[in-house]
């Protein structure tokens, strides 16, 4: 491998990238846009949800509590229901997203402090609403000092989605999702574009080796990936207060390994595709299962065994373990070595296949 040739390919890629405004805009645009879009879902500061109230106690104190909750403006108490069934119907029809239910024995419960005095029934099919309800549940009920951890004054009853995803998981996961999307897509079109534009025939008639060509195309995007990680982390901590409990160095190291894994996948796809359009289709084909099965959308532990095995193949699955471990649990890289090893194996296998497939011939 000649470093001069490798360098000239990297330089060429960077020059082309600088002139490709759309791709250039995507480098910062995609992470920012995604973070803001997904960030809305993890935004805990939701206001003016349509809601109903069912006050079965009807005492002065129950009315007072309801008024206090209404004053937070999280819920708009538009409907006054008379029965449980009515609440259920309103939720089903989608006319309300939440309901406050005060049980008939509100006063006794308040005295004994053994059972919740108020239920917030929420439409759990929407993540935003769950988050809002949990926020409301933390509302201090008058004289709440005697409540224990086990018996909270306000109980959240989650309709339709008892398995609630922790919102804090979203931003670390988002680092992986954004990288998967951009890194695979950028490199998947890389070699095909050379072929489509006729450059490949010129290139393979030169002494450039498949390793030089492949790594030369991957390296500039690795740098771009690091920029994207920084954008997501900066916005994530700044806007959404996502903690980075582990070491920043570990986090970047894990990201770089994952970036190279995604790039390997991309360049591998690039050797399969016959056109840029095909390359994009293939990228999306790998993108969806990764998002769905990696544990970003649904908890890994909740998936059937077969799906779990399948998920083990995806680099995103392993990166999510790494990034959540480092950011949220403060784990160190050596502690997470199995995921790191899995990513390394993925890189070696995919890159080797890709290089073997870059033949310096037309047939």
């Amino acid at each position: 491998m000649s470093f001069r040739r490798l360098g000239s390919i990297v330089l060429k890629e960077l020059r082309q990238l600088r002139r490709d405004r759309l791709t250039f805009a995507m480098i910062v645009g995609i992470p920012t846009m995604q973070l803001v879009l997904f960030g809305y879902a993890i935004n805990l500061d939701v206001r003016h949800l349509d809601a109903a109230v069912l006050d079965q106690a009807g005492t002065a104190r129950s009315r007072e509590l309801i008024a206090e909750l209404a004053a937070t403006e999280v819920l708009d108490l538009r409907h006054v229901a008379a029965t449980d069934q009515e609440i259920g119907r309103l939720l089903r029809e989608g006319r309300i997203s939440a309901a406050l239910v005060v049980p008939p024995d509100f006063e006794q419960r308040l005295e004994r402090r053994n059972r919740p005095v108020l239920q917030i029934v929420v439409d759990g099919s929407e993540q935003v609403i769950q988050a809002a309800a949990r926020q409301l549940a933390a509302f201090p009920v008058e004289g709440s000092a005697g409540w224990t951890r086990r018996t909270q004054p306000i109980e959240v009853v989650n309709f339709y989605n008892p398995e609630r995803a922790a919102p804090i998981n979203t931003v670390p996961g988002l680092v992986g999702v954004i990288l998967t999307m951009t890194m695979v897509l950028f490199t998947a079109v890389a070699l095909v574009r050379e072929r489509e534009r006729g450059n490949l025939e010129m290139l393979i008639a030169t002494p450039v080796s498949p390793w030089e060509l492949t790594t030369g195309k991957v390296l500039p995007f690795a740098a771009i990936g690091v920029v994207q990680v920084s954008v997501v982390l900066a916005l994530g901590t700044w806007i959404f207060d996502v903690p980075i409990r582990g070491s920043l160095l570990d986090l970047y190291a894990a990201s770089v390994v994952f970036i190279v894994a995604s790039l390997s996948l991309g360049i591998f796809l690039s050797t399969l595709a016959r056109s840029q359009f095909q390359a994009m289709q293939m990228s999306f084909f790998t993108f969806l299962p990764q998002i769905l099965l990696s544990g970003f959308m649904f908890p890994y532990a909740g998936m059937p065994l077969a799906a779990q095995w399948l998920a083990e193949i995806f680099p995103l699955t392993h990166f999510l373990r790494l990034v959540r471990g480092i950011m949220l649990r403060g784990a160190t890289l050596p502690e997470l070595w199995p995921s790191l090893a899995a990513l390394a194996a993925f890189i070696v296998v995919l890159l080797t296949i890709a290089v073997a497939r870059v033949r310096k011939r037309l047939d």
């Binding site: 020059r15 025939e201 008639a205 030169t206 002494p207 011939r361």
Partner: protein, 318 residues
């Protein structure tokens, strides 16, 4: 096969029985080729005759189905990588980067060909000057005109000073003026000892080659110097002048020995095989049909050679 003058120069390309099949389709079928050092060797043939496929096999970009190739003393495809350092290949379509500038493209090509930095700088400046691109050095290649693109492609192909250049229909996208200038550059390179193999479907270009092979349906149907090919053309070329060219054409098309007919301006160019005074025979035939015509013999040109060679492959055996 080749002109005596060139027989002393060593062989640069030697191919025997070169064959390439794509599936069941034979693109090249048993091509034998000898190209000597310093020659400007032409491949003349219609589209799909196997010119590009043959060139790609000689460069090591395509695997031959069968046959032997020896280029610059290297066994192809075995030594293809070693060969790539010593040849230049100008593709049919413009294959430099449209989104890089003229100078960036050349710098890139110099680097991938391992031209030392100092030499690269010097040669880039010199080639930009030689090919009239000095004032375009910072222009994006995609915004150049057809002729400029072609000169840039040639410049990029010769930066590493290859011994042998393959040019696949290099002038297909440029105007006649640029074509002439381009061919002047090719001879300049040949003068400095570079061997050139150029494919074309233009007769005037083919005529400028030192030696020529006419390809048709994957076979070489005629080869030699353009002069020898024209001189040795079997049969006669005749010009028919008449006021009733249409009728004359219909009539002569059925005459024995006629290989091809084409209207050129106000006259009819007829290629006919066979001995005797064909002109007199034609005049008699036309007069019998009541057509008043003047028929005279003319010197065959390369197009006649091409028409005979590609219409009746057996004629090449003569």
């Amino acid at each position: 096969m080749s002109s005596p003058a060139n027989d002393a120069a060593p062989l640069v390309i030697r191919a025997r029985g070169l064959t390439k099949r794509f599936g069941n389709l034979p693109a090249v079928a048993g091509v034998d080729l000898d190209v000597r050092r310093g020659e400007v060797f032409g491949f003349l043939g219609p589209n799909g005759s196997g010119k590009s496929t043959t060139i790609r096999m000689l460069c090591g970009l395509l695997l031959p189905t069968s046959g032997e190739i020896d280029v610059l003393g290297l066994q192809i495809p075995r030594d293809a990588e070693a060969l790539k350092r010593r040849i230049g290949y100008m593709t049919q379509q413009f294959s430099l980067y449209q989104d890089l500038t003229v100078a960036e493209n050349l710098a890139f090509l110099a680097a991938v060909h391992d031209v030392p930095r100092a030499a690269a700088k010097r040669r880039i400046a010199a080639t930009l000057e030689r090919y009239g691109l000095a004032d375009r050095r910072n222009q994006l290649a995609g915004t150049l005109s057809g002729g400029q693109k072609q000169r840039l492609a040639l410049a990029g192909t010769v930066l590493h000073e290859p011994d042998l250049l393959f040019l696949d229909e290099p002038t297909s996208a440029v105007d006649p003026q640029s074509r002439r200038e381009f061919w002047d550059s090719l001879f300049e390179l040949a003068d400095r000892g570079t061997t050139l193999l150029v494919s074309t479907h233009y007769m005037d270009e083919a005529e400028r080659c030192m030696r020529l092979a006419i390809l048709d349906r994957g076979r070489i149907v005629a080869d030699g110097t353009p002069q020898a090919l024209m001189r040795d053309l079997p049969g006669q070329t005749l010009l028919v002048e008449s006021t009733e060219l249409r009728r004359a054409q219909q009539l002569l098309a059925a005459a024995p020995g006629v290989v091809a007919l084409a209207q050129i301006g106000a006259s009819l160019r007829v290629l006919a095989t066979g001995g005797g005074d064909i002109a007199a025979d034609f005049t008699a035939r036309l007069r019998a049909a009541g057509i008043d015509a003047a028929v005279r013999r003319t010197a065959p040109n390369l197009e006649d050679v091409f028409v005979v060679a590609t219409r009746r492959p057996e004629a090449s055996a003569a």
